[in-house]
């Protein structure tokens, strides 16, 4: 008798969504067990997915980042040749302060100047001199700089680096330098007023509560659940919301996905149904349960495409 | 200060059984040790002890603390085997059988040579179970009735039965010190030993309990070969027929108790008995 519970693990960002789907899935399909959804981070999930084929291995890995070429390679090396990717929606990343703080209308360049270890002043890179937001831009509140950003172990950090720091870096017009140095200059945060949060968003929130001046980075869904204590900042003039992110107006968002082990489809009961259920209108679709939980939904055509690709056993490649 | 000389006398034998040296002659040799040496690691505790121990008599080992009395006693039932680092040399024969030979099962030996220790050490079980333990492990009783029989007769021989007959199910540790020691003797007897070794059996007891045990030893002598270690010369004089004096791991002198106490041959024995050493 083979295993009859779907095993899922991975990203803690996807975890709440996958858990909800798992729970509803079991409710909707009383003949299947509720899938087990473990955390462990995107890396952990993919690692387990790629350990091999067989009952003791994972069926689905949740991930907030794309599987890398080397990961895929290691998958293949372990006999996991059929990996199917499903993108089911987007995660918005918002900047928020305590409820009683000033209003922030941020631009990536503001954040870059607040965060980077070295910033250009008069065309030269110097150690970051700013201590107050209003020094960076007069439009920003007169408030000390203190930023809590996701730790390097978070997938969110990747988006943050790309969409905020790199974008801000470009806008800040750094002096000419080679690519590596440029990357280092853009992406190295200062240590005095920037903390990297390795834990989850509750930790960031705790940081904000202990330091009222702090600006923190949160997932949209987390912000949504804690609107009573958090005040969100606009980025490039756009207020983050399901609509603005889905429309692509809000710059800081990323796709969320999971990877299915093709070899287990049809062997572990319910995988196809789970995927279809996940991508259904009532779950990942606009107005579905996951949206209420903070997922930025993708269009229904996109979701249908994902499902079709999955059913056609299209394999993930890089 | 000669005024004090001779002021301490030992009048012994308040007990009634007596035995004169001639009688002792009849007793065959039960145990004989030849050139027994014991090392504890580097340290030599016994330097070649040779002694014959007669049947059905009490032999007392005396000597100052640390002279090796207990060590030698433990050789006789191979309790030294249980001490890490103890090495025994020489030969000890029980009824002509070498007790250190490879065929001999030490468990069987210990059933034949019982031991009573300095501090009463009853098991934390009922009085009955204390006495029944030995017969049980050795399979001495065919039935429950048999076992009852053994337990009761052993307790009786140890002079304890009357005192405890109504509370055989109570823990042995609840008895008084003297009773506990008698319980230990009963426990040893229950296995049906031929020899009983006693290592300072009264040193933890009060004078009254001591007197009772001494009387008991005197009775047991009729059926068992008894070896007793004592630190009290008075006690040795009271209960034993043979006395061996140890000093610094050597057997200095050995003979009839009366002779040893009245006419010690050796200077060291004399000194010890006169209270000049120890």
């Amino acid at each position: 008798q083979s295993r009859n519970t779907i095993q899922i693990a991975g990203s803690s960002t996807v975890l709440p969504f996958a858990s909800i789907v798992a729970e509803e899935f079991a409710n909707a399909f009383p003949d299947y067990n509720a899938p087990n959804v473990a955390g462990g981070g995107s890396g952990g999930g993919k690692r387990q997915l790629c350990e091999g084929v067989g009952e003791a291995t994972l069926d689905i890995a949740n991930s907030s980042s794309k599987m890398s070429a080397s990961e895929l390679e290691s998958c293949h090396a372990n006999g996991v040749t059929d990996v199917r990717e499903i993108v089911f929606g987007y995660d918005g990343i918002v900047f928020a302060t305590g409820i009683n703080q000033g209003d922030f209308a941020l631009e990536p360049v503001h954040l870059y100047k607040a965060i980077a270890a070295q910033v250009p002043v008069d065309g030269e890179l110097v150690d970051n001199p700013y201590t107050n937001w209003s020094e960076i831009d007069a439009s920003l509140p007169d408030q000390g700089i203190f930023v809590a950003i996701p730790g390097t172990n978070h997938g969110t950090r990747e988006v943050f680096d790309q969409r905020v720091l790199e974008a801000g870096c470009e806008a800040a017009e750094l002096p000419e330098m080679d690519e590596d140095a440029m990357e280092a200059a853009c992406l190295t945060p200062r240590q005095d007023v920037v903390v990297e949060i390795a834990g989850d968003y509750t930790e960031t929130l705790a940081r904000l509560q202990s330091n009222p001046e702090a600006v923190g980075v949160f997932g949209l869904s987390f912000y949504d659940q804690n609107r009573d204590t958090l005040k969100v900042a606009t980025v490039s003039g756009v207020e983050p919301s399901l609509d603005t992110i889905a429309a692509g107006d809000y710059p800081v968002s990323r796709p969320l996905q999971f990877y299915v082990k093709g070899a287990h489809v049809g062997v572990i009961p319910g995988i196809e149904d789970y995927v279809a259920f996940f991508l259904s209108e009532q779950m990942a679709g606009a107005g579905g349960t996951l949206e209420a939980a903070g997922l930025v939904p993708a269009s229904s055509e996109f979701l249908a495409g994902q499902l079709e690709a999955f059913n056609n056993a299209e394999q993930y490649t890089r | 200060m000669d005024v004090l000389a001779g002021k301490v006398k030992v009048t012994s034998k308040t007990l009634d059984q007596t035995m004169n040296p001639a009688e002792l002659m009849d007793h065959p040799i039960r145990l004989s040790a030849r050139d027994v040496t014991v090392h504890y690691g580097e340290k030599q505790a016994l330097h070649g002890i040779s002694i014959d121990i007669p049947d059905r008599a009490v032999t007392a080992f005396i000597g100052p603390s640390g002279c090796g009395k207990s060590t030698f006693l433990r050789c006789i039932n191979r309790m030294n085997d249980t001490i890490e680092g103890a090495k025994v040399g020489g030969k000890i024969e029980l009824d002509g059988e070498d007790i250190y030979s490879a065929d001999l099962d030490v468990v069987e030996l210990r059933a034949r040579v019982g031991m009573v220790f300095q501090k009463p050490n009853p098991f934390p079980k009922s009085i009955y179970d204390n006495v029944a333990y030995g017969p049980r492990i050795h399979g001495l009783a065919k039935s429950k009735a048999d076992l009852d029989e053994i337990v009761i007769s052993s307790l009786r021989k140890a002079g304890l039965f009357e005192e405890v007959k109504d509370r055989l199910a109570e823990p042995g540790t609840g008895l008084s010190g003297g009773q506990q020691q008698r319980l230990c003797i009963a426990r040893a007897i229950a296995v049906g030993p031929e020899v009983i070794l006693m290592d300072e059996p009264c040193s933890a007891l009060d004078p009254i309990a001591t007197a009772i045990i001494e009387e008991l030893i005197d009775e047991l002598r009729e059926n068992y070969t008894i070896v007793i270690v004592t630190h009290s010369m008075q006690q040795a004089a009271r209960v034993s027929q043979k006395t061996a004096f140890f000093h610094l791991g050597n057997l200095i002198e050995h003979g009839d108790t009366e002779d040893i106490f009245t006419n010690p041959v050796n200077k060291q024995t004399q000194d010890y008995i006169m209270g000049r050493i120890g």
Partner: protein, 458 residues
Amino acid sequence: MNALVIAALLLVLLTVSYQVGWSRSRKLADGKDTRLHSRPIYHGALAALFALLPAIVILGLWALFSQSVTNSFILAQLPAEVAQQQPFEVQAAVSRVQAIASGYGVIGEPTPMETAAASAYASFQQLSFLGVIAAAAALGAVGLFWAQRRIAPRLRARTEVEIFVRLALIACSTVAILTTLGIVLSLLSDALRFFSFISPLDFFFGTTWNPRFQSTGSGSAGEYGLLPLLWGTVMISIIAMLVAVPIGLMSAIYLSQYAHARVRSVVKPIIEILAGIPTIVYGFFALVTVGPFLSGLGDVIGINIRATSALTAGVVMGIMIIPFISSLSDDILGQVPRTMRDGSLGLGATQSETIRKVLLPAALPGVVGAVLLAVSRAIGETMIVVLAAGNSPVLRANPAEPTSTVTVSIVNQLTGDADFTSPQSLVAFALGLTLFAMTLLLNVLALYIVRKFREQYE
């Protein structure tokens, strides 16, 4: 059903062989005047061992190999194409046959091929099971026969049974060694893989911990200097000790030297409750209570203390360690002979002089050992730091700032979103190995000191 048959077989073997051994030896003793070396129960037990062990070995082998044997049998019944499929499809096909054979049925119409295979499989299953049972029983019987032939008055059955028992005991005590071995081996290979990316020199002596998030495809791997983590670990441990050692030691001293027996019997268990509280609870406690309290306190006295900081984690960890120190110190103070105390009191020293000048110096090695053991516990503590230290792996001296530790980094790097083949994840194993080596060193040192101390008074 199968399990029941097997259990029954073993039970029968057990009773029969025991009975045989028991009664035969008894008869020997009854008939003649010979004395048995061992009591009948030992002969019984020995016979049972002789009978059961071979049977169990056979059953164990079957348990190991039945899966693959069954699989290949079923595959042999199915067309050759099936076996050439992907392993998982093969497994699916096999499971279908098994499901049909079990009578539960499958969804959809089974093919005739499958039905045939299923019926063949069913009979194979029965036959093979019977065969195995028969083999086990036969071997058991052989063992029993041999055992009962050996029975003789002088057979040292007890000794043999005892040897077996001792072997079983030895087997149990190797588990601890295997555990250590397992730890080292399971950490080593991945740690080595990490060191193929990052040179050990950069790891052990680097002063920056910044394992960049490796953007897919991007080149730089970040910096993996151990020192900031190590420093965080050390700083938190020091703070914890600053809290725990005075409180723990003084409590132990007061309870063992001053307090009334009744006070002691109430207070001691209450303090020991602290040791039983899960560390996750401490973490929560630090996060919601201690952290905000400390930062509030900082505001009052004009120091900027972060709510999640080395200080918070250290203080809470200190609280956790108090009972550890106090009960160890209590033991150790108890081991200082009473004569030592009497000697000092007899000279006219006051109680506290006796404690400070005689007992403590005498117990010092032991207390140091205890503290070292506590330190190794502090170093290995994870959940409190995860929740309370604020994860900021930067080399800085101010304990009021957030910091990070080795353990936290293990959790973070391993449960994060990083690529699992990358040094970002693999570093966790190198960290684990370092941690293991550190605590090993501390422990060996502590044990050495404690043992030296014991020797002094034994």
